[in-house]
């Protein structure tokens, strides 16, 4: 039979998995076993009937406590919500059982019991609510255990409305308890109404079970059936007892039946939870396999993409090489021919000489332009030495028309840097703007450009001995604002020191990222 097999599986799990919660469970078992032995000894001494609630209360408490400890540890171990609600549900039951045992022992002393009844203490309140709370937690457990919301949406709706009804009644009952005397008719009415919820719930569940399929729901069905049937027997028994229909008093109250029901149910559900974990394991394995397959597919896709990219890159490289060698060579040829033609002209000042000069000049310019295009499309551009090269060229080009001494100071290990395309661009544009400003406004005769690496920072200093400016009087233009923005993008700061007649110093300060500091030179 299915349940038999699941219990067997559960036991096998129990024996094979050496996990922390088992140790806790064994300790708990030993503890409660000791309590039971002591309880039986007490029974024998006082020669109470064999089925006294004190005894079966203890047995129920042992079973439920053990399962409670196991499930709550399993919850922390496996993070399955079903375990959480089930352990809370068991906790509520445990509290109620302690109450029942307490009542059972008190029942023999009628006076004490009367005192208890007359004084609606907080203990009564807590115990009463623990039983009601257990119903709600039980519903939550069912929701997670059978994954009702996803698997049985119709069932979910009915269970939801049932829980809502129960909660409303519980709320009303609480109001009545707070304002009405313990033994009033109102209270009894509400207790009856709440009692009605159990058969209504039972009906809802049993009706819905027809739609449930699979081993998991069979286990659940058996457990719930045990609980509801024995609870109903308990209520019937109590009614019969109340009207003196039963003569023997071996079983003194209905709690006994409920407890037997709970024990059966607990066994079923424990087996069910274990089975569910197995299912989860299987699902997990299937999911992992699917994920693995997905990964393999993604990898293959990536491989194909990379191959395509590589072939594209090779094609681009070929075009670039053509541009680099053939076109630039031809342009150099044009420049040379223009030069020869110019040399052969008798009149060096004629219009043709100017035209030839222009042709040669443009051809040489085109060589530079193509070089820049090739650079911008290749990884070469990322190398910092190319940036330094561009910086020097830019400064010297600007200086060609002015009498200015440029002092370029560079740290020797800067070529090995690799800031990446974007950061290279930001850095170069800050430099360009800074140097351009010197040539445009400063009227300087000396320009000092210093680039130094002070781990983990890079510092660029552009200092001139020009006319300077008053920072308060001059409004920051778009150039300066852009420079500051770019400095921020580099993760650094830009400082400008200037005084009228004492030159201007611009300092850019930005951190180097780790990967930027260790690039091979070559």
């Amino acid at each position: 039979m299915a349940i038999h097999k699941t219990i067997e599986l559960y036991l096998r799990d129990w024996l094979s998995e050496k996990q922390g919660y088992q140790i806790i469970a064994v300790i708990a078992c030993l503890f409660f076993a000791c309590v039971t032995v002591l309880g039986i000894q007490a029974q024998m001494q006082f020669s109470k009937p064999l089925l006294h609630p004190l005894l079966h209360g203890n047995i129920a408490i042992i079973v439920v406590s053990t399962v409670f400890l196991t499930t709550i540890t399993q919850y922390f171990w496996l993070k399955n919500k079903a375990f959480w609600y089930y352990s809370l549900y068991l906790l509520c039951n445990l509290i109620y059982f302690h109450y029942a045992v307490f009542l059972g022992s008190a029942q023999t002393q009628a006076i004490q019991l009367k005192q208890l009844r007359q004084f609606p203490s907080i203990i009564h309140f807590i115990f009463g609510y623990s039983l009601m709370g257990s119903f709600i937690l039980y519903t939550f457990f069912v929701l997670h255990f059978l994954r009702i919301r996803a698997n049985y949406p119709d069932f979910y709706q009915r269970l939801k409305s049932y829980t809502q009804l129960y909660l409303i009644l519980l709320g009303l009952y609480t109001c009545v308890v707070l304002f009405v005397h313990d033994e009033s008719l109102w209270l009894n009415c509400f207790q009856c109404l709440l009692g009605c919820c159990i058969p209504i719930g039972a009906y809802t569940l049993f009706d819905c079970f027809r739609t449930l399929k699979g081993r998991l729901s069979n286990i659940f069905l058996t457990g719930s059936a045990c609980y509801f049937l024995l609870s109903s027997i308990g209520f019937l028994y109590e009614t019969a007892f109340f009207y003196n229909l039963l003569k023997n008093n071996y079983i003194q109250n209905s709690v006994f039946f409920i407890q037997i029901g709970v024990i059966l149910e607990v066994i079923c559900f424990s087996a069910g939870l274990s089975y569910q974990m197995q299912l989860v394991g299987i699902e997990k394995q299937a999911m992992e396999a699917a994920l693995f397959l997905q990964k393999v597919q993604a990898l293959e896709f990536e491989k194909a993409w990379l191959k395509e990219q590589q072939s594209r890159l090779a094609e681009r490289k070929r075009i670039m090489a053509d541009l680099h060698d053939d076109v630039q060579g031809t342009l150099a040829g044009i420049s040379i021919f223009a030069g020869i033609a110019q040399m052969q002209l008798q009149d060096k000042e004629s219009k043709i000489a100017t035209i030839l000069e222009n042709i040669g000049e443009k051809a040489r310019l085109m060589i530079d332009t193509i070089k820049q295009i090739v650079r911008s499309t290749s990884n070469e551009n990322e190398r910092f030495e190319n940036i330094i090269c561009q910086m020097q060229q830019y400064a010297h080009d600007l200086a060609a028309n002015q009498t200015i001494v440029i002092d370029f100071r560079l740290d020797s290990d800067l070529n090995a840097l690799n800031l990446g395309l974007q950061r290279n661009k930001e850095f170069y544009l800050i430099f360009k703007e800074g140097v351009f400003n010197v040539f445009k406004y400063a009227q300087a005769t000396q320009l000092k450009i210093q680039l130094e690496k002070k781990e983990p920072n890079m510092i660029l200093t552009i200092a001139d001995n020009g006319q300077g400016f008053d920072k308060n009087a001059v409004k920051a233009g778009a150039g300066l604002i852009n420079m500051k923005k770019r400095a921020k993008l580099l993760g650094g700061q830009l400082h400008i020191k200037s005084q009228l007649g004492a030159g201007t110093t611009l300092i850019l300060h930005f951190p180097l990222q780790k990967k930027e500091q260790t690039t091979q030179n070559g």
Binding site: G329, G333, I367, C389, S412
Partner: protein
């Protein structure tokens, strides 16, 4: 004054032709050979006996310009070789000098400056170099040992 005999190694026929014209039309220069690849110059250098070789780096043959420079310098130590290329990366610059090149020129150099550089090399001076090329050369040299630079680089240059 004796003409400076120049051999050209350049794979671009248009530029090769242009350089040949330029040298033959300029006073004091003579183009003794124009070759499309390194193998050709190695085969004909004994016959042509140039004073200076104008060498391109990127050549379609098995040997590139730097390897050809090394080969020529090994067999004709007194020969001056000027590299003329579009490449500006420090590796090319350094390997050119390491191979024994006397100068490193870029192809966007105006014709008169090219002639000046050839003459300067012939007279035993270093040809004028663009500042960033010189910077790269020095920078790369610093990265390796100074001894290596002096032995392999400066000695052949001063010959």
């Amino acid at each position: 004054m004796e003409n400076i005999k120049v051999a050209i190694v350049e794979d671009n026929p248009f530029l090769r032709e242009g350089l040949t014209y330029l040298l033959n039309d300029s006073i004091g220069f003579q183009c003794v050979g124009a070759y499309p690849n390194a193998e050709h110059i190695i085969d004909h250098i004994g016959r042509d006996a140039p004073d200076i070789v104008l060498m391109d780096i990127g050549l379609p043959s098995k040997m590139n310009g730097i390897e050809a420079t090394k080969h020529l310098k090994a067999h004709f130590p007194k020969l001056s070789i000027l590299i003329q290329t579009v490449r500006e990366d420090s590796f090319s610059i350094f390997s050119a000098f390491k191979a024994g090149a006397s100068g490193y020129l870029l192809k966007n150099l105006p014709p008169n400056q090219l002639l000046q550089s050839i003459r300067a090399t012939f007279e035993g001076h270093l040809p004028k170099m663009l500042p960033h090329i010189a910077q790269k050369w020095i920078g790369f040299g610093n990265a390796l040992s100074i001894f290596f630079v002096i032995k392999k680089l400066l000695i052949p240059m001063t010959i």
